[in-house]
């Protein structure tokens, strides 16, 4: 039996500290390196957005934060340190009752508002009750009062909704119910996976406004994963870009959107049309994401990168400090990118339109 190692300390303003996290999926073709050496801090009350294409590892990483990964996934290294009220714990070492305790009461997850996030044969009240009981809240009257409060907070009528079955609710209502349910045990962290995908525009808007209101009211920290950059622009304080399983850029929201320094972040931002303002110079990223079983040598983005030089093919760069202390990018060409993008506060596609 290995000796239990002491849990390292976490900066006081952080609520979660992910360090060098790596996750593989075992497959017949060999290990899929879904997450590689991911590190980041989540501060108390902060909203962090994780963006990237499908296959970038963002969902695998997020699900692992509450250890809900499928059995074929294995954390091969790293720590997920949660700074609770009394002590700091390493989530990767939790099991049994401690893990249950951590999930939901410390860290809750809201999945896409699909029907399969619910048990289809029990009504919403019973879903609330189930969740509460599973986490030791046994007084029915207490659960009733709390779920009523939460549903009102998400602008739903408890008398109507609690009696309803999941299929009787619209997509937007289901998403609200899931958000309310995630807050049942007052978690310090809420993780949201594509919270507005598949919802209509007006419903998306109401969910975004709701999340903003709840965050101000309750003060929890939020991590959300989305391929929708506009959601990050709306809600995030900081943004992390993931590519091929690893973090390629971390920055404050305005730095990410107006002054990205990694060519992949630039590529993503340039691929999204807007409704208001100038369209700018839009284009897609060429090529496809790499095979995570057989990653390219050197920088994993080099086969698709318009700024590639020979040195990019030699070794994968570290996260290099750029511009401000809060901003880093895994790119040896970041200065070149900075010259092209500049420092002004305008969308990337607009800036590139001026240049060409």
């Amino acid at each position: 039996m290995p000796q239990p190692q002491p849990v390292p300390s976490v900066a006081p303003d952080s609520v979660l500290s992910v360090r060098d996290l790596s996750i593989i999926y075992r497959t017949r073709r060999g290990p899929v390196q879904a997450v590689r050496d991911v590190s980041f801090e989540l501060r108390r009350g902060e909203t962090l957005a994780i963006i990237g294409e499908s296959g970038s590892g963002k969902t695998t990483m997020a699900v692992s934060l509450i250890r809900l990964s499928p059995r074929t996934a294995k954390i091969t290294s790293g720590q997920i340190l949660y700074r609770g009220e009394d002590a700091t714990i390493d989530v990767t070492r939790l099991d049994g009752e401690d893990l249950r305790e951590f999930r939901w009461s410390e860290c809750a997850m809201v999945f896409q508002a699909a029907l399969n996030s619910f048990n289809p044969v029990i009504n919403i009240w019973e879903q609330f009750l189930d969740t509460a009981r599973a986490h030791g809240m046994n007084k029915t009257t207490e659960v009733r009062a709390r779920s009523g409060d939460l549903l009102r907070m998400v602008n739903l009528d408890p008398d109507r909704v609690l009696r309803a079955y999941p299929h009787e609710l619209s997509g937007g209502m289901r998403q609200r119910v899931l958000i309310a349910m995630s807050l049942l045990l007052e978690p310090a962290i809420v993780i949201l996976d594509e919270p507005t995908t598949a919802l209509d525009i007006l419903t998306q808007r109401s969910i975004i406004d709701l999340l903003r209101k709840l965050r101000a009211q309750l003060g929890f920290s939020m991590i959300f994963i989305s391929h929708d950059l506009s959601l990050a622009a709306e809600l995030a304080d900081r943004v992390i870009t993931m590519y091929a399983g690893t973090v390629v850029e971390r920055a404050a929201v305005k730095d990410m959107f107006y002054r990205p320094r990694h060519p992949y972040s630039v590529g993503l931002l340039r691929a999204v049309p807007r409704v208001t303002g100038a369209l700018g110079s839009l284009s897609s990223i060429t090529g496809s994401p790499p095979d995570l079983i057989k990653l390219p040598e050197g920088c994993t983005y080099h086969p698709r990168c318009p700024y590639v030089i020979d040195a990019c093919k030699e070794r994968e760069p570290d996260l290099l400090a750029v511009d401000t202390p809060e901003h880093d990018a895994r790119c040896i060409r970041w200065k070149h990118v900075a010259e092209i993008i500049g420092t002004g506060e305008a969308a990337v596609a607009e800036k590139l339109a001026v240049r060409t």
Binding site: D200, Q204, S206, L229, S230
Partner: protein, 329 residues
Amino acid sequence: MNVTRAFKTPGGVIKAVDGVSLALGQSEAICLVGESGCGKTTTGRMLAGLLRPTSGQLLFESKDVWTTKGKELARFRRSVQLVHQDPYASLNPIRTVYQTLSAPLFRHKKVSDRRGAIGAVTELLQRVGLTPPADFLIKYPHQLSGGQRQRVSIARALSVDPRVIVADEAVSMVDVSIRISLLNLLLALRDEFRVTIVLITHDLAVARYFARRGRIGVMYLGRVVELGTSELVVGDPAHPYSAALVAAIPEADPTLTRSKERVELRSAEVPSLLRLPSGCTFHPRCPLFEEGLCDVRVPELLGIPDGREVACHVAVRERAPAAELIGVR
């Protein structure tokens, strides 16, 4: 066309599309946008001749498609092609790209032997950017990415020299990073083959990009509520519903998106298609609602001075777009 389509359900009859009139020009890029349940897909399926209108007509070269037969009907079928949303479901998984693309060529007697077919398929693949074509001929759908599959679907639609391609949410399921290239491909094909492309999408930003030199039709509960150039519909919406959509949409620009003016709707609830509100179906939610008018009379789609059409009593009377009347301009 001028069509209505109702569906019978256990709960009653649903009018999914109610009196939609649309005339498509040659080599036009037009988008139908709207939220789920607005009837945009049903309209697309009627355009493609896959659904028979309950009332109204679908005219192709001035002939009612649903009364034509034989050769003429076959010609319509060839002339209007559909590209589906889900490239994972719309390609036969046990057929190679060559098999998928050569089948319509043989069927419509565009080629007669294998050699001719390989040549034609190679050319199609090149046209949709799947190069080198030889690498793709023998691939099965599962060996392709979502974007590549959608290119195969587009190639299949192109294989029979269509006049109109109806693309229903054709870019919604592919990654954000490659949507623009698919839209560009469709636009390039429109220019090259003078084909009209109807893109159906829920994404207003995609619609704006795609139809930047074309038209956008905004649909709400089975009706077209605004139809006009992309620049006007998105830049200065005339219908209060379009104005609400433009104001609500989050944008990938933090300063802009956090300071956008909102349109406050009177209700967040979308009425059921089984119990549509009287008069203008948007009236229970509309910020410009006028009692005795909007809840009584159904607004027609009428032209306003700037050249577009809008189905709103107030905007037409005031001769001003709703965006201006609400104050979100």
